[in-house]
Symmetry: C3
Subunit: 304 residues, 3 copies
């Protein structure tokens, strides 16, 4: 069990807590390959997916994780709910809590939304992405995947490539990787590197080529067209050339490099389609590991 009610950020977690989650996720993953992929661990518990931003993937991953543990799941989305009637965030949460639920999974466009909610409810709160702040379960499934593939995390060079400045995935991963002793390197155009990067104490590079010779892991980020009010790079072609990956470039990478992406991939932008069948592309295993990690978190927070 974790000695905490909520999982709001990686920043909150100790190295030991992260490792405990990863170890638990390993046992959970084993359940996914049983004939009956279900255990009664959370029977009678209720998990609420409260999503203020649409994200079918993340919501479904939590829904599947909860169902594998026999919990009941209630899906709330901002559209179509009473939120449309001008209800406040506090009211929404207090009213759902009054249905006697055990955990909230929160996705919100505002930094700090999950933290705020964790303070006003006695139920467990899991942050499934709050603005540009954190996406802790994504980082946990990423380090789980690295540990599974590499046998360790400490000492690895992990290049994180793309729109670092707008990415909660990057932020959570940097924090998790540093806690576990890895060496993250941020790679992106200067416009996409956050100004506070020096404070984070991580290395920066300005093209994928620079990091190819020594990266053990290359973690590509999704270019989120919809987030950029003004263009952060001259053209897709330009971006792809310096920050995209293809098989040709991968020939210059380490033999045992692994390529990751949180999905959905813009094929032809971050990754060229010839990487799809690349043997060390672990993108779909990240999806599977997402279930295992979320099962572990639900179990460790509300399974007592």
């Amino acid at each position: 069990m974790l000695e905490r009610k909520d999982l709001v950020s990686i920043e909150d977690l100790s190295k030991e807590e992260i490792e405990h989650i990863l170890d638990t996720a390993e046992s959970m993953k084993e359940i996914l390959y049983r004939d009956i992929k279900k255990v009664p661990t959370l029977r009678g518990k209720t998990v609420v997916n409260l999503f203020f931003e649409p994200s079918t993937r993340t919501r479904t991953s939590f829904e599947m994780a909860a169902k594998r543990l026999s919990a009941d799941v209630i899906n709330f989305s901002a559209t179509g709910s009473s939120l449309a009637k001008g209800e406040t965030l506090r009211d929404t949460v207090k009213n759902i809590e009054a249905l006697v639920v055990d955990a909230f999974v929160i996705r919100h466009s505002a930094e700090g939304a999950a933290y705020y909610i964790s303070k006003i409810t006695d139920a467990s709160v899991i942050n499934a992405g709050d603005g540009k702040h954190e996406h802790p379960t994504q980082a946990l499934l990423d380090v789980f995947t690295i540990r599974e593939k590499k046998g360790k995390i400490e000492g690895l060079n992990v290049a994180i490539v793309g729109d670092i400045a707008h990415s909660r995935v990057a932020r959570s991963n940097v924090i998790a990787l540093k806690k576990l002793g890895a060496n993250p390197i941020l790679v992106g155009p200067p416009t996409m590197i956050p100004p506070f990067v020096e404070i984070l104490g991580v290395d920066v590079a300005y093209s994928v080529d620079e990091v190819l010779p020594y990266a053990d892991v290359i973690m590509m980020l999704r270019i989120q067209m919809e987030r950029q009010k003004s263009p952060l790079f001259p053209s897709i072609r330009e971006y792809s050339r310096f920050f995209g990956l293809n098989r040709h470039k991968l020939e210059r990478a380490k033999r045992d490099v692994i390529v990751m992406h949180p999905g959905p991939v813009n094929w032809g932008v971050e990754l060229s389609t010839d990487v799809m069948e690349f043997e060390s592309n672990v993108i779909l295993e990240q999806v599977t590991n997402g279930i295992a990690v979320r099962m572990a978190i639900l179990y460790l927070l509300i399974g007592k």
Copy 2:
């Protein structure tokens, strides 16, 4: 068990039936605080939420109630379903019934919709609000909450404040309260008091101030901006002054008054935000009791 197939209106129920539902809801509420908040009572039964008006709150409350009893739940909403293709109400119901279901929970903008449906199906029908007619489960959870807080219902003065004329909640509550021996008092601007109020045989007041000294319960109604084609009161500020509640006014109320609201509250209109933390605001307990009452009704109608 109830000797009836449907719950279409409070008007249909005898005092004994109402009390039987409340007693059953008491046992159901106890389940909500168990470690495993689930019983197998309705395993293999199917409850259909058939909502022609959106209402995330009521739908979710029924969904939770059904799941706590291990029933399967199917959600139908008018938008996105084959209703869009010009299907008739009768056809929709007969086709869902042919899936072999046990209960319909109906929300519809037309008075009598639930009654009509109850006549064309062998499944149980529960009215979750039909136009301005009735909302019987809301009234039952309200009287349940009053009985729980006050230890009795008979003889209590219950002020119902707001847009009485457009409120199925008010109508169902007046009927329930009178059957149980309470004294409902309708409070609202003359434009919001229905013309037939004398037929109902209840007292009327034209400001909250009038009833504060003797009300045991103050039940605020939601102002439904979207329902009023022409304005029924000069301004929100005006409405709030005469029919809203705040801590200042509550100082003139009875010591043990309780404040209720069916939700969602327009904070600053019906209730000022300083009532949020008022110790006798039981609004969130109404939400919890809604689950218990709906569990009781599902059990009593289809649990045999």
Copy 3:
């Protein structure tokens, strides 16, 4: 069990496989009338409804079938999902598969979509309608209904009436009926008879009147206004006169004729409302049988 991973088309199935599905559906139907309408056969299995065209009826039928067998169900619809973000069909499927699921139920507007998906996933794929190609579970529930009502299928004259050219239901039924030894007759205006009808080797008639005297089964198709870019018949009234059914016409039919329709009926177009209460209208029984047949298919594909 079926010796196949997928159910993509009736064309793929042998006569023996069809009969095995129908026999299994008979046992499944019996479950629907038990007190506890649920068996644990597919506990721990996950069925994904992946619908690229909306169809509440078919989706719900599969959802109910899966739940009766205790499977978990995940509903994906094209709208609101990450598909909106420009994801490819392949990516969508591979990502859902990575959640470790057992079966996909696919509805898509493109012919061959289900086949394509069956080739890229190890999970079972069930075609719930692909463009104008096939709708195999509809045909199976139709022949199940005929067998149940008539005691046999071989040798029966089955008139299929309406927009044959645009109907996957007609296509799948013709193939199923011929495999089982029945004699399908296609009835529709010349504009609605597909040019390749001779290749199918079935009889054609140009009005309902022609087939009334000898049809054992009359299967009406739905006129899908939304599918016809240019009008295929002069007017609704005209269409109804030659290809609609009413009680008056049915007086000239065989005594024991049965009338079928895949739903939803355009009452007043394909069928006049006086057919609603006609004793041999088996439309709602088709709906019930749809659950039984889909339970059988799920069981035979993923129940091992």
